[in-house]
Symmetry: C2
């Protein structure tokens, strides 16, 4: 009864405050809400475990593949709120991905046979690791359909590189990283002639091949180095998933396969599925990749399309590759956190098999093989290497691990369940139903040397009736499961609105340290200063023949230049630099009818090239609602018909004329506004605002705006001195616009300091 | 104390069950969870109000613009879970949008000046209405940057039509529908010469124009009819938002504006923002669109690019258009549910103005004008038409309405607040802070004749520090607010991961009745039967010169044909029909390196054309994880070098050979499997399964699979009779594959019937 007493007072307080509405102003009781919404007590507990209150953060971030959307999805745990879609293989205009020249260059790296590929079938994201655990620096993801790997920098969550696999036509076993991210693995799926080219199917066994690719990652540069990468040739079995060994199994990698029957369908023959699952076992490929690396360095690789490929015969002769029979049509191959075991599930078998690294090594050491496959690769006996087999249920697929020793979780596709089990003892512990037909599953840091447990996500392949219907194409369904207790407990059903995630990785949010802005003038895709960086005041339009280069800037709330005049047929390149420093002060930029949509985050410089091929008048504007005067952040691209002379715009054509009265009125308004600003400035500068990293750039931006205001003030006064009231009034108005912006930013900074307990300096 | 007693027993029960873990197996107490996660009592209540338990549905669906992503976002209230991104203006591979020929044809309708535009800047979604309230049939959305309107059918949540505005270069005041969806409104933003062409800026006042477009919607066809549509020419003020009148104001429409100064920036001149907000008032445009419609029918329109445009002088002469001064730089213009008032907020003014329709009509009737603008349009006095003005706060933008009479909600951009107020009495009632800088806001059915109140969503423009950081480009932030009580209460912060939604509409989920599958062989974009519909068994490859047409089918788990051989340089067109009927049984289809990614929902037929321009071997496969044998749902596109003769594949090249032993073993397995299936069939057929609409298509699909199984069984037995054990065993295996699929579907149907209380027939 001790715990009971401990709980009751708080809940009584909740009841009372809910009844009287003293806290929230909401007079409804919790009971009313539960009754009205049909919530059970279990639901309430799940709600409490997943709700993240306003302004609070999630504990873990998940990076999920976006499946056929070709993107990466980022969401939080436990709230399951999606925070971002990162453009990877598919152009995406909100982020300007594939619209600015810088990101087009990244996508162009992903061309295949010279062809633009405007999507990817992303499958397996991998986080960079240091000593076998996540370090929060990089993310890698593969494209099954067009064999490619992308590199995403977690400093800004942008795709920096795409490498095309030069020898494969299809892959699945990537991306997986070695314990210190020296290599990123990518293994083939459907066999084909390595390096491309046509070979008729009757030569399938002789000329079709798979390969396991080890991409060298240069962490300092943050880029994959194809010239220092290599692949190991493997038989035309359909290789599937892979994993790197770690600790006890460090230096090895594991890749399983299906259709080791090498069956091929065709007219009048049963389809692939008939012959591809006829045998009782397929082959687990065990590769000593460290030895392979040495052999490649020693020049034992052949070159295919300029890429290092270690031939099968060399790999066999040098003891690089071995096969172990595994239950038919396996899907997952997962190395345990201690590196001592490899867990494999044959999806058409009810057993999950645990292979012992020690036994595998011993068999290799002893040369104890049961035979060779058709390609001469030594086969190690299944029974000689098994630690245990456990009957978990129907359609076992993938396995992830808990912080608790020996505890694993395996997805059961056909049973639509997750099994919790002990891989040391070989014992089933618990099961939980999911909806429907789970593929991968994921625990926090669950594929590292130090799983954190706590949560499990079931990546379900079907959704059917779980959410409000939205037409024949359904969302996907990720289910969050609490694995901290004795029994697994379902917490949350999350629809995925775009793309079918295949796999996901969950990282402790503390490990991520993304930036909020770029150093002024950064080309974010290369990470270096853009040659087109433009400082305020140095905006210009440079014409050279039929080429026009515009060096422009963006700041609340104008685009400089705001009139760009070119001649029909000119090739126009825009270079735009966002002058803001403050967090979240992104500006967009779009031109009517020109297919230009840019996203320019604070400090970034982006470029875009297009041909102004049709005379006309094309408005452009900022596409992010950046400030109160956002709609006025506009301009015109004027495309003059070929040969027509430019017309200088006379100001007299502006219908609204301004007088001394307008000027004086605006001047007085500005003087009053300045008093308010001075108060805000006084508040901020007498606080320890420099201790608040979010506020410092705001103060810098506000100071910029005040400097601009002073410039405009000078201009207004100069025109007034000359009695030019039209320009005097306009500049007085612009002076006020800068004041408004300074005040807006200042107010936000002041509010932040108040809410975050800033102290008065010297008190 | 009465309510207190009513509540306590339940909460005590919660405490007890949480303590003992009897219900969920979770031994943690609610108190522990609240303490550990730092939840307040208010947080718990908000969690209870927004959590939607597994398998339950949301009450409202929201359709939000996807901003620069060019898509539409669908999410649920109160859970704020995103259910779908609908491809509208931007190609999106997951849904095959812009990848299959059918959807390419929709996107091609959106070309501008012959150019592909691969994004849109979507702003304002509008739901179709019947008698001024939502009917759940259609959704319209505009593209600000490339003036276009898209039509989305809510039967399948697919984009069916894109119409390009033939006279504008920029728009903002769309989409809004008339009370019976006869017309969809789209009004200009930045002025330009109507119909295109170059005119220098010194002719701005004379030759630049805006226009308010009324697109005729044919509900029976579900399509906009450009030939029956028209526009009303308006001055080169920057028109902004619009709304249709209803009830008392039916027949009128309202469009406001900024920059009625007609200021233009340029080299050496202050930017647009200076001159565009210099005056104290801009103009609200009042249009008698019914009269305009009559005049157009009477032949009073001129033709610009073949489109009906009612000239300003005709509109003025015939009493179609009037102007009313409104506070400077307004954003929202919103007609009250009773149609009696129009609410306008000048964002640089602290007042929100309520104009009376009765007074507007009276002034027009009496010919009481204060003057004319430069274009001869009569100006009605602001004071003559105002019902009231209310000082709500800084930066008022948009207004929506409550179910309660006279209650309105207005967003305050600069103050970052929502104001609740009474527009009849002109009284401020309540305010709630939001984070940060709210743009639009939205209540349930809040822009119709019958708002439902309950919830309000704040569409905030900045997010800054509200969520886990994900780099310089932040998510957007929608906040859900409970408006059912006396005080507004914040319930939920929702990040938006892709695109900046400008406006959203929330509809009662009961009004939506989407389909789950198509009639076999449907071209979903036209809604009619595809000429390329292919039935099982009639798959074929037709060659005609260098054109190859493939008529294929998709069903768990094979693609027919599974080998497609063509010659280098052939133009290949694939037609694929998904034979499934069951909910969520979508198949995907991608070919390596050919930029082909299709999404084929149950019953759909899609086509894709590409040139096989490079000899080689290209695997293809299903990209949706559709079944246990999903990975084996594969095939090969063989592109033969020009001139090379085809090679017939001999079966002897299949390495794995099968014997009588294999056949007998498989045969026995199949006989055993059939017993299990028979039991499932017996269960289903003795229940009233026909009363369950989700189960009927499952039973049909399972029956299909059993028929296929019987065919395969016959083949196996025939080969066995001939002593061809290779083919006998393969077909026996395929027979089993069909059995597995039938069992899988049958098990799902059985489970559904058990969970949903199906009754035994005759009992």
């Amino acid at each position: 009864m001790k715990s009971y007493r401990r709980v009751l007072p708080l809940l009584t307080a909740i009841v009372l405050s809910a009844l009287t509405g003293t806290q929230s102003g909401v007079a409804q009781t919790l009971q009313d809400v539960m009754k009205e919404r049909g919530l059970t007590e279990k639901d309430l507990l799940a709600a409490a475990k997943t709700y993240v209150p306003t302004g609070k953060r999630d504990d873990y971030l998940v990076f999920a593949s976006g499946g056929q959307s070709g993107q990466v999805i980022v969401y939080g745990i436990p709230s399951m709120r999606i925070l971002k879609y990162i453009g990877v293989f598919t152009p995406e205009p909100w982020q300007g991905y594939g619209f600015d020249n810088e990101s087009k260059a990244v996508l162009a790296q992903g061309k295949i046979d010279g062809k633009d590929i405007t999507f990817g079938d992303t499958h397996h994201p991998a986080l960079s690791e240091t000593n076998g655990n996540y370090d929060g620096e990089y993310l890698f993801i593969n494209d099954k359909n067009n064999p490619r790997i992308a590199v995403i920098d977690l400093k800004d969550f942008e795709t920096k590189q795409i490498v095309v696999n030069p020898i494969l036509r299809s892959e699945h076993g990537g991306a997986f990283v070695s314990p210190n991210t020296d290599y990123v693995m990518e293994s083939s799926q459907y066999p084909a002639p390595l390096g491309g080219g046509y070979v008729p199917l009757d030569k399938f066994n002789d000329s079709y091949r798979g390969a396991i690719t080890y991409w060298k990652f240069n962490r300092q540069k943050g880029r994959i180095e194809p010239e220092n990468s290599f692949a190991v040739e493997v038989p035309p079995y359909s290789q599937d998933l892979s994993d790197f060994g770690k600790l006890d199994s460090d230096g090895f990698s594991f890749t399983n396969s299906f259709c080791s029957e090498r069956y091929v369908g065709g007219p009048g023959r049963p389809p692939f599925e008939a012959g591809c699952s006829a045998s009782d076992t397929d082959f687990l490929h065990v590769v000593n990749w460290r030895k392979a690396e040495e052999l490649v360095k020693a020049g034992k690789a052949k070159q295919i399309n300029g890429f290092n490929v270690l031939p099968m015969e060399v790999a066999v002769a040098e003891g690089v590759i071995f096969l172990i029979p595994e239950p038919k049509s396996p899907h997952g191959v997962d190395v345990t956190p201690d590196g001592k075991y490899v867990v494999v599930s044959g999806k058409l078998d009810t057993h999950t098999s645990v292979f012992s690294i020690e036994k595998i090594k011993a068999a290799i050491q002893a040369g104890k093989f049961t035979g060779k496959d058709s390609y001469g690769i030594p086969i190690i006996g299944m029974q000689d290497t098994l630690h245990t087999q456990v009957a978990l249920g129907l359609g076992p697929l993938h396995t992830q691990f808990d912080a608790k020793k020996c505890i694993a979780y395996t997805s059961l596709y056909v049973d639509s369940q997750v099994a919790r089990w002990d891989y040391c003892e070989g014992k089933l512990l618990d099961k939980i139903p999911i909806h429907y037909n789970i593929g991968h599953l994921m625990t926090m840091h669950g594929d590292t040397v130090a799983p954190e447990g706590k949560y499990l996500v079931a990546l379900n392949k079907l959704t059917i009736d779980r959410f409000n219907p939205v037409g024949p194409l359904h969302p996907q369904n990720h289910q969050l499961i609490d694995i901290s207790g004795d029994k697994m407990a379902l917490l949350y059903d999350m629809p995925l609105p775009l793309g079918e995630p295949h796999y996901a990785v969950g990282i402790n949010a503390k490990l991520l340290k993304p930036i909020i802005s770029y150093k002024l003038g950064t080309n974010s895709r290369t990470g270096s200063e853009s040659p087109f960086k433009t400082r305020p005041g140095s905006e210009k339009i440079v014409k050279d023949g039929n080429r026009v280069e515009v060096f422009g800037t963006l700041i609340r709330s104008h685009i400089t230049p705001d009139i760009i005049e070119v001649e029909e047929g000119d090739e126009v390149t825009l270079h735009l630099t966002n002058l803001e420093r403050a967090e979240d002060e992104t500006h967009g930029f779009a031109i009517s009818g020109q297919n230009i949509q840019l996203s320019v985050e604070p400090g970034k410089t982006v470029s875009a090239t297009f041909v102004a091929d049709r005379a006309g008048v094309y408005p452009y504007y900022c596409t992010e609602f950046c400030s109160a005067l956002h709609l006025e952040m506009e301009g015109y691209l004027m495309v003059r018909p070929k040969g027509l002379q430019p017309v200088s715009m006379t100001e007299s054509k502006t219908v609204t004329t301004f007088t001394k009265v307008d000027y004086d009125r605006q001047y007085q308004k500005n003087v009053d506004t300045q008093k308010v600003i001075d108060e805000v400035v006084a508040f901020i500068t007498t606080r320890n605002y420099k201790d608040f990293s979010a506020v410092v750039p705001q103060v810098e931006d506000a100071t910029d705006q005040l400097n601009f205001a002073n410039d405009a003030k000078s201009k207004a006064e100069d025109y007034a001195a000359k009695g030019d009231w039209q320009n005097a009034a306009l500049w007085a108005n612009q002076w006020w616009q800068y004041q408004v912006k300074a005040a807006d930013i200042g107010m936000r900074a002041k509010g932040y300091l108040e809410q975050h307990g800033a102290k008065e300096v010297g008190k």
